[in-house]
């Protein structure tokens, strides 16, 4: 029977004890002032939990969380004070409006690179702030609106002090549990991979854009909820709720508490909201001490307070899930992938120029050529990381030209990268990520990931940190991750680079076994000793064009290939 409560010596146990102590303090000892600080800490914890989803999990530095907070605050403020609407009406609307705004602005801005995305989201916050200040008939202008009622629903009013603190922290508990449940599930893991390696995530079938948009909108819901509760706590709403210090507070809470962790958001909020109060006796000097304390916290605990806890009290190793093979699907025979006249130029350089080739089920095709001949670009075009300028790609009889990487991955194309890199975390987690869109649960995905690792002889690596593995093992794990996709087409970009002869032989055998299972395999490789015995057919590129293709021996003997790439064998 699984243990329901964490052991007290685990991070979860420590946090549970700390939570109970905080609860006892609030229930039994806290003065009205201390309860107010706790209440405000709860409000910021809720906003920071949402921010952890978009920033901590999805890795998008959204500076709009303060704007969502402020919009939620203004919806509650305007509807509550101007129109006298009750909490059951204002609260959902305070979540809805930030959500709608997040959907509308998320679609264009989430395509931007990280720093441009941050600037764009900051711009959203500034626009909303300007509107709040310059629409006085609606928002009360720079003065804001006073007379916002407290929380009251169905005839029950929540007075300030202990009841209000309880209400706010109940919202934090509910929001925290929901975020924790989402973070540890398939969605949370997918977001983590999007954060750590968006290209790999896309090639593993994850819709990066949709995932980021979902994270952005969920964070907006939390921001709106926090803003609404803030206004019920203060009873006024003014442009300060939209100003940058709110965003800075949320960001600092997330960093100090521990990026991506719900517990980090709560710990960070409680600490950061209390720190200024502890130093208040220093009058004007308190900001200096407060700043120094924050700096110290970041230097001493770069991974946040939860990071320190996890370092001091490492969580127990997860119980290994037994590998389980997936149900093999019947694979089509014959030509699986057909590339016709594919072209791609970068400025004036024609990286791929009218390439035509086909991959057969159960066959291994080698792709060779000098550096810069277009091999990796061709793989990127076929796997959707680049969009072709011309030509067609047909997969299992269906044209898939210009499809996004995640869509192609779901259609059956898997690939590895020239530089094998795995995200931080266990090897099992890295391979499990490849099954997130296929399996109904994390347990099933882990069992199938174990099977993929087993197929490449790397099951024993499961608990190890993938990012810390030597290159050869990383390549093997990457192959397992690609196999876990159950691909119809497998594209391997220099899989033997850096391997010893024994490792190459082992890899060749495993690739051959994969092909024997009905997969069409394309191998880009410079090591002819490794490649030529393995492949059924070779395509040689030069200057983006097909220089030669055919049986390995014929291509290797082709004078044009020798002149352009292989060179004369030493006498």
């Amino acid at each position: 029977m699984p243990r329901l409560l964490p052991h007290v010596s685990s991070p979860g146990g420590v946090l549970a004890v700390a939570g109970a102590a905080l609860l006892a303090y609030a229930a039994l000892y806290a003065s009205p002032y201390e309860l107010r600080v706790l209440t405000v800490a709860g409000v910021y914890a809720l906003a920071a939990i949402g921010f952890q989803i978009v920033f901590g999990l999805a890795g998008a530095l959204s500076l709009a969380q303060g704007a969502f907070f402020g919009i939620g605050a203004y919806v509650t403020g305007i509807l509550g004070s101007r129109y006298g609407l009750p909490f059951p009406v204002t609260f959902p609307l305070s979540l809805l409006l930030p959500f709608v705004l997040a959907v509308l602005v998320g679609l264009p801005v989430l395509r931007l690179e990280s720093h441009y995305f941050a600037l764009a989201t900051l711009g959203i916050a500034q626009v909303v702030l300007l509107l709040a200040v310059n629409l006085p008939d609606l928002t009360g202008g720079a003065n804001g609106l006073a007379g916002v009622p407290g929380i009251a629903a169905f005839g029950v009013e929540v007075p300030r002090g202990r009841p209000l603190a309880a209400a706010v922290w109940a919202a934090v508990a509910a929001g925290g549990l929901l975020a924790w449940w989402m973070a540890r599930g398939r969605w949370g893991r997918a977001l983590t991979l999007v954060r750590d390696d968006p290209l790999a995530a896309a090639t593993l079938g994850l819709d990066v854009g949709r995932l980021r948009l979902a994270a952005f909108t969920v964070s907006a819901l939390y921001g709106g909820a926090a803003g609404a509760l803030a206004v019920h706590t203060q009873r006024v709403v003014s442009p300060e709720v939209l100003e940058f210090p709110v965003m800075v507070s949320v960001l600092t809470i997330a960093i100090v508490g521990g990026r991506g962790r719900v517990a980090g958001a709560i710990l960070g909020a409680v600490l950061l909201l209390h720190l200024p109060e502890w130093f208040r006796f220093l009058e004007q000097s308190y900001l200096v001490v407060y700043g120094a304390a924050l700096l110290l916290a970041i230097v001493v605990a770069p991974y946040g307070l939860t990071g320190v806890l996890e370092r001091l009290l490492p969580p127990p190793a997860a119980v290994p899930v037994p590998p389980r093979a997936w149900a093999e699907r019947e694979r089509p025979a014959g030509t699986v992938l057909c590339v016709e006249g594919l072209s791609k130029a970068f400025g004036g350089v024609r990286a791929v120029d009218g390439v035509t080739l086909s991959l057969e089920a159960g066959r291994v095709t080698g792709l060779i050529g000098p550096n810069g001949s277009g091999k990796t670009t061709l793989i990127n075009l076929v796997s959707g990381l680049e969009r072709p300028d011309g030509g067609r790609v047909v997969l299992n009889g269906r044209e898939v030209t210009g499809w996004r990487a995640d869509r192609l991955a779901r259609a059956g194309i898997a690939r590895t990268f020239q530089t094998a890199s795995l995200p931080a975390g266990t090897v099992l987690d890295a391979v499990t990520a490849a099954r997130l869109d296929r399996d109904g649960s994390i347990a099933a995905a882990q069992a199938h990931a174990g099977h993929a690792l087993e197929r490449v002889g790397a099951l024993h690596l499961g608990p190890r940190d993938g990012a810390a593995l030597p290159a050869a093992l990383r390549r093997r794990v990457e192959l397992a991750r690609a196999l876990a996709r159950e691909p119809a087409v497998l594209l391997l970009d220099e899989p033997a680079a850096g391997l010893t002869d024994d490792e190459k032989a082992d890899l060749a055998a495993r690739i051959a076994a994969v092909a024997a299972g009905g997969v069409a395999v394309l191998v880009v490789e410079h090591d002819m000793d490794f490649l030529l015995p393995l492949v059924d057919r070779v395509v040689c590129l030069d200057g983006g064009r097909v220089l030669a293709q055919g049986a390995p021996a014929a291509v290797a003997a082709d004078p044009a290939v020798i002149a352009a790439y292989l060179g004369d064998a030493p006498s």
Partner: protein
């Protein structure tokens, strides 16, 4: 035995000593950091100077100074914290309108009077009996401002440049209403962000509207920037600024020549003198804090002294202090204070002008018993 009794009696007399003074609290919760730190520090200094002066007999009025920053949330937290300690009879409360609006419900819950110099009109429009403003509200100062422009300078085409803050928007609304009542046509209006680093575009657009007077309602820094740029471009249209201009800290940012002919409205100008009591206040202020006092310091000083007078006359509870403030009259250094029934205690304003040779302005016009009403 007799010796022992005598010893015990003596010990008892010594330990009893003089009667212990009752301690009451009047915390000072003002913005010492952020964009209002200069004004907030003046406010703090005024309150502290008053509390350091003669204490009511038999009572010690203690104070804690707490920085409220500029967020309503910090102000409310500071108020809740202050009210949890001892017997608080009044609070010297932030001059920032949004902070006051946030503190008002809590003050009403705790039944503690807030004594402030905030000019934001709406703080005394909430029907809250616990707020007392010892600084003329915008309705009063803008009446003086507009009347001086129209009645004394004879100008009819003002251009109004204001700040996009609570202070600025409130002042703009009152100026517009007052100019309309006086029959003047506002030919240009523009709100300026406090962070703006170049006001020349605004100045150029205002001049293009061909005004006969430039009316400013800006914070300290933007006021100084505007005047410097106007002087640099040889603007000859007269300028009548808002109360920020009277602050010595604003004048310190400018050369006297850049202020030549510039006038400003304010509640008072302590550095301009006017009475021996005012001169003594200014001297004490300089000695205590090493800076020049302004109208905010003087207003908070007067308000705090009125609270201390109420205590001296027997008020020992917050309710008693509130009643004294609501019903009493106080002869302060700046003016005579009396509530209009909503907590507005100050009903006078002055116009000061700079002669171009000194940073100390002269009071050129005084307006008393202003109602702030256009009706």
């Amino acid at each position: 035995m007799r010796r022992s009794l005598a010893f015990l009696l003596l010990t008892g007399i010594i330990s009893a000593g003089p009667a212990r003074a009752e301690t009451l609290n009047m915390p000072v919760l003002v913005p010492l950091t952020g964009f209002l730190s200069l004004e907030g520090t003046s406010q703090r200094n005024g309150a502290v100077l008053a509390l350091r002066g003669a204490q009511p007999p038999g009572v010690t009025v203690a104070t804690d100074v707490v920085d409220t920053g500029t967020s309503p949330e910090a102000a409310v937290t500071a108020l809740e914290r202050a009210l949890g300690r001892g017997t608080t009879v009044a609070v010297a409360a932030s001059m920032l309108g949004t902070q006051m609006l946030a503190m008002l419900p809590l003050a009403a819950d705790y039944k503690v009077p807030l004594v402030t110099v905030s000019g934001t009109a709406s703080i005394t429009e909430q029907g809250n009996p616990w707020v007392f403003r010892f600084f003329p509200g915008d309705a009063v100062t803008k009446e003086a401002h507009a009347r001086y422009v129209v009645e004394e300078l004879g100008k009819r085409r003002p251009a109004v440049i204001y700040q996009t803050t609570a202070y600025g928007q409130s002042g703009r609304a009152h100026l517009a209403e007052r100019f309309r009542a006086l029959g003047a046509e506002v030919v240009y209006e523009e709100g300026v962000d406090p962070a703006a680093r170049d006001l020349l575009p605004v100045l150029s657009k205002a001049l293009a509207a061909r005004p006969d007077v430039l009316v400013l309602h800006l914070h300290s820094g933007p006021t100084a920037l505007f005047l410097r740029q106007a002087a640099a471009h040889g603007v000859e249209v007269p300028i009548v600024a808002g109360s920020a201009m009277h602050q010595p800290s604003t004048a310190a940012l400018l050369d006297p020549a850049e202020m030549k002919g510039v006038c400003a409205e304010t509640a008072a100008s302590p550095v301009s003198g006017g009475s021996p009591e005012m001169d003594r206040f200014t001297a004490d202020y300089r000695a205590a804090f090493g800076t020049e006092p302004d109208a905010f310091a003087l207003g908070q000083y007067d308000g705090t002294r009125m609270v201390l007078d109420a205590i001296a006359r027997g008020a020992r509870t917050a309710e008693a202090v509130r009643a004294a403030l609501a019903d009493g009259t106080h002869e302060g250094l700046a003016m005579t204070y009396r509530s209009d029934g909503t907590g507005n205690m100050a009903h006078s304003a002055v116009i000061v002008c700079y002669d171009g040779t000194s940073r100390v302005p002269q009071v050129v016009r005084r307006y008393d018993a202003l109602s702030g009403s256009t009706r």
